[in-house]
């Protein structure tokens, strides 16, 4: 009965702690309903019975009653202590991580999530095996975010500069939304992802595939690069249609000349991209801020190669150079007459 009622105002119960939280929620709901009814009924009755009307006289009544007042001090006190107790007990269940749990590192940044598994694989969606306690270590690259899975009744802030912990154990196979519940700027409401709960055997198979995209059917480096572009947050700042975002567009970027903030120019070749991704502050593109996070440890060289392969597919200068010389461009300047590309010139 309560379960059916609960589905009106609660998300599905998909973790071990969820039923406990919901039980307490309903318990407090009962208390709320009881006191609301008591007080509202009192108000209504008094309003009708003692309303001012011809012939009605306000009666005498005591100005106070210590007994009565102590009663309505002590009863609420007891009730809130009971609620406190159950809330605390439930919270301890949520905080004490069981031994032998499976550890996943949650990396948050404006405005996406990345989940790193023990073997180093990083994915934008969180996959977990059902029935296994999962221990999360939460980190943030920039501002405070909050990792929130309503179906698990789990929430924890990810705070830059410290590691927060949370854990859960999923009880139900399925997909459940992940929200960022701490305001973090422009696309806060789009900082979404999902948890995919699978049977342990399926999870193992999935992780195996996720760690080796090459083994997936239909694998091409270009496609794998595009996946990284979309799933690892590049898309938040870099467009592929030529428009300016937080970072420069990737359209026609590879193989072109890039103006740097120190006044020099450089050709965007493999080394440049590789360094830009791992050490973004080394060379800052003119007209942009040094806000790009480093992917050192986040992207492996092989993955950067895929990104480069993808960049090449959307770059005319590169394709042109391929057409004319037939060789992979080197760091030697190719289009001497072309002005250096920079955002500054476009913004004016």
């Amino acid at each position: 009965m309560l379960k059916i009622l609960g589905s009106i105002y609660m998300p599905p119960e998909a973790s071990t702690v969820a039923p406990g939280v919901d039980w307490l929620f309903n318990f407090i709901l009962g208390i709320t309903a009881f006191f609301c009814l008591l007080i509202f009924a009192g108000m209504v009755v008094f309003c009708i019975k003692y309303r001012h009307r011809p012939g009605h006289q306000g009666g005498e009544s005591p100005g106070h009653s210590t007994g009565l007042e102590l009663t309505w001090t002590i009863i609420p006190l007891i009730i809130v202590l009971v609620v406190f107790f159950y809330g605390f007990r439930g919270f301890l269940d949520m905080s004490v991580v069981p031994p032998n749990s499976y550890e996943i590192i949650v990396q948050s940044k404006m405005w996406n999530w990345a989940f790193q598994y023990p073997n180093g694989t990083v994915t934008p969606e969180l996959h977990v095996p059902k029935g296994v306690p999962i221990r999360l270590v939460l980190t943030s690259d920039d501002v405070i975010h909050s990792f929130y899975v309503p179906a698990f009744r789990t929430q924890k802030m990810s705070v830059p500069g410290r590691y927060n912990r949370a854990w859960f154990q999923a009880t139900q196979v399925g997909e459940f939304p992940i929200y960022c519940a701490q305001y973090c700027g422009t696309s806060h409401s789009k900082m979404l992802s999902k948890v995919v709960v699978e049977e342990p055997t399926n999870f193992d198979r999935w992780l195996e595939e996720a760690s080796n995209p090459e083994k997936q059917t239909g694998f091409t480096p270009q496609k794998a690069g595009e996946d990284i572009y979309k799933s690892r947050g590049c898309i938040q700042c870099h467009s592929i249609d030529g428009s300016h975002g937080t970072g420069p567009t990737w359209k026609d970027m590879f193989g072109s000349k890039v103006a740097l903030s120190d006044g020099s120019t450089i050709v965007a070749d493999e080394n440049y991209v590789h360094d830009s991704v791992l050490y973004p502050t080394k060379q800052i593109v003119q007209g942009y801020q040094a806000v790009m996070p480093s992917y050192l440890g986040g992207l492996k060289d092989k993955q950067i190669d895929w990104v480069i392969a993808y960049m090449k597919t959307i770059s005319e200068p590169y394709k042109k150079s391929m057409g004319s010389s037939g060789a992979v461009p080197t760091s030697a300047p190719m289009h001497k007459d072309e002005p250096a590309r920079s955002a500054g010139s476009n913004l004016k």
Binding site: Y9, M10, P11, V21, F25, I28, T32, F35, C36, G42, M43, F46, Y50, R51, H52, G58, E60, S61, P62, G63, H64, L68, W72, T73, P76, V80, V83, F84, Y86, G87, F88, R89, G90, M94, D142, V143, I144, S146, Y148, P150, R153, T154, Q155, M157, V159, G161, R162, N164, Y179, C180, A181, Q182, Y183, G185, T186, S187, H188, S189, K190, K348
Partner: protein
Amino acid sequence: MSAITGNLGLATKQPEHKSDNYLTHGKGIKSWLFSLDHKRIGLMYMIGVLTAFFIGGVFAMLLRTKLLTPGLMYTHNEADEWNFYNHCFTLHGAFMVFMFIIPAIPAVLGNFVLPMMLGAKDVAFPRLNLGSLWCWIIGSIFFGWVLLGGILHAAFGPFANYWANALIPAGLDTGWTFYTPYSTAKAANGTVEALLGIFILGFSSILTGVNFIATIHMLRPKGMTWFRMPLFLWSLYATSIIQILATPVLAITGLLLLAERTLGVGIFDPALGGDPVMYQHFFWFYSHPAVYIMILPAMGVISEVITAHTRKHVFGYNFIAYSSIAIAMLSFLVWGHHLFVSGQSPLANAIFSILTFAIAVPSAIKVFNWVSTMWRGDIRFTTPMICALSFIILFTFGGLTGLFLGALSNDVHVTGTYFIVAHFHYVMVGSALFAFLAGLYHWWPKMFGKMTNKTVGNIAAILLLIGFNLTFFVQFIAGAKGLPRRYASYPPEFHKYMVTSTIGAYVMAVALFMMAGNLLAALINGKKAPANPWGANTLEWHTASPPPHDNFPVEPVAGDPYDMGSWVWDEATEQWVLDEDHARTVAGTEPTVHQH
């Protein structure tokens, strides 16, 4: 019955008494802007906070309208749309919290009524009082600047000129909570101006607090012992303690933020070696007590309004008075309940949780006392009373939903969601706003000598109650189902709640315009108000409406503030008149009437 109408020109029909009241005493704009009269300062504050309320309200309408759709409402691309929404909720929150709800009751109603309830000519330090008003004005100018800057930026920005960019802030999108490192490292650049504004507004609050405490200590009249003080004064006293002790912490926190943002001093930003969670501690060390700066005076107003309009002695005076002080003290010990999911240790969480529950008890006591006050009363459904009844409904509900948040395991699920939004709107808006309206309608006759239209006022109040519940009740459900707050876009399953909520907000807007229109209409063609239209016995009703410049021609002597028996309805004049015999028999009271 030897009924004598009070002294102070209430039935003495001499024209000169009528013509000289505080409204006519001194002419010209300067006589208002630099007035030392607490009543005029109160009215100036009223104009100010209502302006802030209006601006905050406009933003509320803009953001609720945006939420009619999860997609684009005002612009053609997502980043602009989300940014616009983020600016809207930030300015909505900042205007409403810092410029409206915090000063509303103490600075407007408190300023106007407190000295008169004490039978005094003014507050203890009238110049300080004027200083407080000017701090408010200057602080608000900073926010006006941020607002204007935001509009200019939206229309013409970004500016190429360095100075234009530096002087025209690009609005404010930090949320009213200014959480670091977003506010110091990432947010739009109005943060500096806004923080300066808050710093100055803080002084307005502190000065009012100092003044009220001094006034209550020094200027109580003959016969008014501490436990004969009107409950509104107890609650203002408790509020003032919080204002004095907590606001400096906010001011310092603001300065630290400024130092970090402008000078790069690492305090809160981990990139500079700071600790962002420390900011949350500092911020809530002020801002949780601030919640009680909003609600305690509201409770005081309700105590006055309910006894006056049920014509009954307040039930359990001592418990209500003590509970105000208990709330003020406990309010300093619960800030950590805003940090339950920040990584705070379970032990700290447990302590903050239990203290949070402790503060629920004195609040509950007040509700029971108010309802019991109505028992065997003679209840009149005037507009202030309807507002007070609405207050009890909303406060009960808002308070009880606090239990969900105080309970640790539940809080983990609903914190940061619409559940929180609903909860604090029930308490801060529902309750504090209704109390403010109750107070305005209750004291309007005293302020301007005009009665408001009861029918229109009551309809507006009921409409507001309906609109309010429509807006915020569904947000409890959306929040329990997991919709995070401050979301410009939302998953489709939440659409129905968002639409309902927005419709409710429109109803509220209509009701509030009715409320305001009714108050203004009273000024123009309201019935003339007698000195004591409600038959209440606190001292402000013992002088003319509107009061003379000095409040009381003769210093009054206080009796029991809730002794309704001393005012009797006189059929002939259709007025409440003071029953001198009765007043005299109230223990320890000397006659309040001096014939002259």
